[in-house]
Symmetry: C2
Subunit: 239 residues, 2 copies
């Protein structure tokens, strides 16, 4: 098995892509499934999110849900909610870029620290030749939080796949764990983490750092949308 | 001053780009100037390299200079040569991609471990707002050797520019030094390093790892070429 890490999405990916947007989309969507959601639609557009056939829509601009939205995209808020049986529309700035690069892969999963063990286990059972860990990055640049979380997942894959061959991206990401043995520190030091802390979301950094707190792994099951506004549909797997 | 590291070239860069292809182009070109070369033309095409108005042309395919070429692109070979006053055509696979992304910057320098101190010193004196350390990467993927060398340069910039603001790319690259306190180990473990070792160029890995052995820093002074075949002209600065 090949284990590859891309510190920015570029694709195409031939087999399995494990997409990591640890602050916050891949964390929050795993936790939505943990809290009972049945389907999550991801989009970057507030307009598209409003029009989707969902029970409720989550979005944030400048730290607040815009008018017409049920709530924000914060893991801390999601953990307080009950989403049993709900279809949720979730807006994200960085995840859609990664999904656009990854959507041609045979299997696309969302990975984070909160579902690390389950995501690694499912990736290994579903991949045939290559697991590409794809860091979403922040506004088109490499993100420290995603790089370290990707390294955490790649290291778990390396340790449990005795014949894995790693690319240099995987070597770079895994090496970051020497500098950040506690991934939470990387979340705090990252640009995304600093932005969230300024907006008052310090709790999110703690919640996003809890390793393997959920067995839920979001699986991409549909791609849609029009006029360049993508929509990606996820359902949960539990491992 | 902003200090930014891109682990793959993407540009455009508004101010100063310090381009790092440690195995081997930025190392070898710095050493060509150390050994007296007056100008170096960089291109990816053997045909273009043959036709350039140069005194001699260096290239390698499968570890050997092709017919009509004076010699290979190995730092070990270059250090044995005398290039005083010569104009040299140098072919490279990975550096041209980075130069294409960087050529719009106000200043483009080549940085490596062999000219680290000089490259950092010139970058600081020539940049006005941003120093972008641009890792060339290997065949379109992040390269461990370039990432660690970029981290080495970024850390030197951070330590000597007390008001530097770093981006996450710089944080990622600098953090790699914790895992690779001796950058030579990263060169050995990288895909490029393993490829060179298989071709018998183990000496190159040692030569490319000698920190600040030369004061020569290649400066981009001209961009040319036609039909998509770029040519970039460098002269030396000494710091």
């Amino acid at each position: 098995m090949r284990v590859r890490v891309d510190l920015l999405p570029r694709g195409p990916y031939p087999d399995l892509a494990l997409v990591v947007d640890v602050l916050r989309a891949s964390t929050s969507i795993a936790l939505l499934f943990e809290r009972g959601a049945s389907e999550v639609f991801v989009t970057e557009s507030l307009r598209v999110a409003r029009e989707l056939p969902a029970d409720l829509a989550l979005a944030e601009r400048e730290g607040l849900p815009p008018e017409g939205f049920f709530g924000g995209t914060s893991p801390a808020e999601i953990l307080k909610g009950d989403f049993r049986g709900k279809t949720v529309a979730y807006t994200s700035e960085n995840l859609p870029r990664a999904l656009r690069a990854a959507e041609g892969a045979k299997t696309v999963l969302l990975g984070a620290l909160v579902n690390a063990r389950a995501a690694v286990s499912l990736a290994k059972s579903r991949a045939e030749e290559e697991i590409a860990v794809v860091a979403a990055g922040h506004r088109g640049n490499e993100a420290l939080d995603d790089a370290v979380a990707s390294g955490f997942l790649a290291k778990k894959l390396e340790l449990t796949l005795p014949r894995a061959t790693l690319d240099d991206g995987a070597r770079i990401a895994s090496a970051l764990l020497k500098a950040f043995p506690d991934p939470q520190e990387a979340l705090w030091r990252s640009e995304s983490g600093q932005l969230l802390a300024r907006l008052g979301y310090t709790e999110d950094l703690a919640h996003a750092s809890v390793i393997s707190r959920t067995r839920a792994v979001p699986l991409l099951v549909g791609v849609g949308g029009s006029s360049g506004k993508g929509v990606w549909k996820f359902i949960p797997l539990f491992a």
